[in-house]
Subunit: 299 residues, 2 copies
């Protein structure tokens, strides 16, 4: 029996429709819309393409969207000053600085300079700390883990008491999703194990997982026989494994052997079209949240 | 064969001797010593006894120690102003507000008001966030988890690739120690599972653990047969299970049945005299660290 495919592309449509509705309501009730600034430094092709998609999505939702692109050689000081300008701009609710930054700029300093109130990427230490504390303190969850949790919940996967195994311990996926799935409350309450390069028996851990979240960046790392029959498999890997002769575009593969895995898993995300589209969607959701929070504070 | 007892009381002596040495060196080299302010609101007997011990330990190390006790009915605003005063006091490197606070005061607001640079308890969201990020960003680790990690390392327990199971998901123990043991680097690099009230098979998880950290607050929760032979067992529970007829003092018990467990474990911490003494010790260590950092910033 073949697994149910959890389509990020389709969920994105659903969530964006919800957000569009919210933006309209905000416009009608308060005469304002969410404001997002995207700051792209230099012209790295992958970054250009990510930012372009973010801008396009923001505009399609009716956001106030400011593209403030900067040359590759902007000084760290000037970039920090630019961020400070947007920290103080009441029309801006979310500040996105596209990573990676050129080597002469300290990325941590830049992330830490964004006001935690406008940190819609959820990378600021304050927001990560609040994520750990949980409950009412949570403000912005980092976008990829938030997207993963949303996919798990919207696909109808039971999380309460579920065995969750997270493969990979990055700051933007593995660590935060491990914390989030172990928290109290709906959509969480799972028993989480985070495995990584130093883990002794990767296969045995994966085989226990009711929900297997793979964010290692290693194509085909997870073998089909590591998947528990009926498990929900979330594949976060986006690996360029070649170039299509026909289209000239990169051929993408996840960290899981999709074709084999879908015969064993209960539900599975494809690559592309799985977690990828959810990340930008959650960025939009965080920006709408921020706009509501800022409106409440004004009231 | 009976387990090796990991004595927190003895480790405390070792670490305090190291810190005393550092304080003397700081005094000689820079003419200054670490400064700690303890703020106790009201007269809760347990809080009085904790603060007294903290003050006594700080004084024994040669710290500049300020006891700034406040009446039960201090307003939140006045308490916040007091914290702000110490945030700006260059002779103070660590600010400790004894918890719990009276109900009319918002604890989160108080914790968040302490400058992250002086947050030697390690409870501020910024410091929790930096703990998640790991590496160079880490500043103050929360004291109890830091003490647990120190006990594991100093007892010669191998953490690299070890299976760590953490029982309990509190903000001050379970969640932070789970993150810390899974980080890259020495004294960590473990495969961590955090289990809790919603976990389906607590016994099976505990039985996998090379290092079992129990912080559930339930006396005798962990049964001897849940312990893997040879495992290192860290019992964080401090439960008052009665009062001694002889001394009138509380009888304390951990979350693990110590007498039975020590016949199976390789290494085990007792209660009392285990993790307890390490918490205050790590508070002192954080304060010394803070003093060095503040000195470096001045240089």
């Amino acid at each position: 029996m073949s697994a149910e495919i959890i389509s990020g592309t389709q969920m994105r449509q659903e969530i964006l429709a919800e957000l569009e509705h919210e933006v309209k309501a905000m416009q009608e009730q308060h005469g304002t819309v969410p404001g997002l600034v995207t700051i792209l430094v230099g012209e790295n092709p992958a970054s250009v393409s990510y930012v372009t998609l973010k801008v396009k999505t923001a505009l399609s939702l009716g956001f106030h969207e400011v593209q403030d692109n900067q040359p590759e050689d902007i000084s760290e000081q000037d970039l920090l000053a630019l961020i400070e300008k947007y920290n103080n701009d009441p029309a801006i609710h979310g500040i996105l600085v596209q990573l990676p930054l050129p080597k002469h700029i300290n990325e941590d300093a830049v992330i830490n300079a964004i006001s935690p109130d406008k940190d819609v990427d959820g990378f600021h230490p304050v927001n990560l700390g609040k994520m750990v504390i949980g409950g009412d303190q949570v403000r912005y969850l980092p976008c990829t883990p938030a997207g993963i949790q949303e996919m798990i919940v919207r696909s109808g996967t039971e999380t309460e008491g579920a065995e969750v195994v997270v493969v990979g311990r990055s700051n933007i996926v593995g660590k935060p999703i491990s914390v989030m799935m172990g928290q109290k409350g709906p959509g969480a309450n799972s028993t989480v194990t985070m495995v990584h390069t130093r883990t002794k028996d990767l296969a045995a851990h994966c085989q226990r997982a009711d929900i297997l979240i793979v964010a290692a960046g290693v194509p085909g790392l997870v073998k089909p026989e590591w998947i528990k029959p009926g498990a929900t498999v979330i594949d976060v890997g986006v690996n360029r494994i070649g170039v299509s002769e026909e289209t000239g575009k990169a051929i993408l593969s996840g960290d899981v052997d999709f074709e084999a895995a879908k015969e064993i898993a209960g539900k599975i995300t494809p690559v592309p079209g799985g977690v990828g589209p959810m990340t930008i969607t959650m960025l939009m959701k965080n920006t709408v949240k921020s706009a509501w929070w800022h409106l409440q504070e004004k009231v």
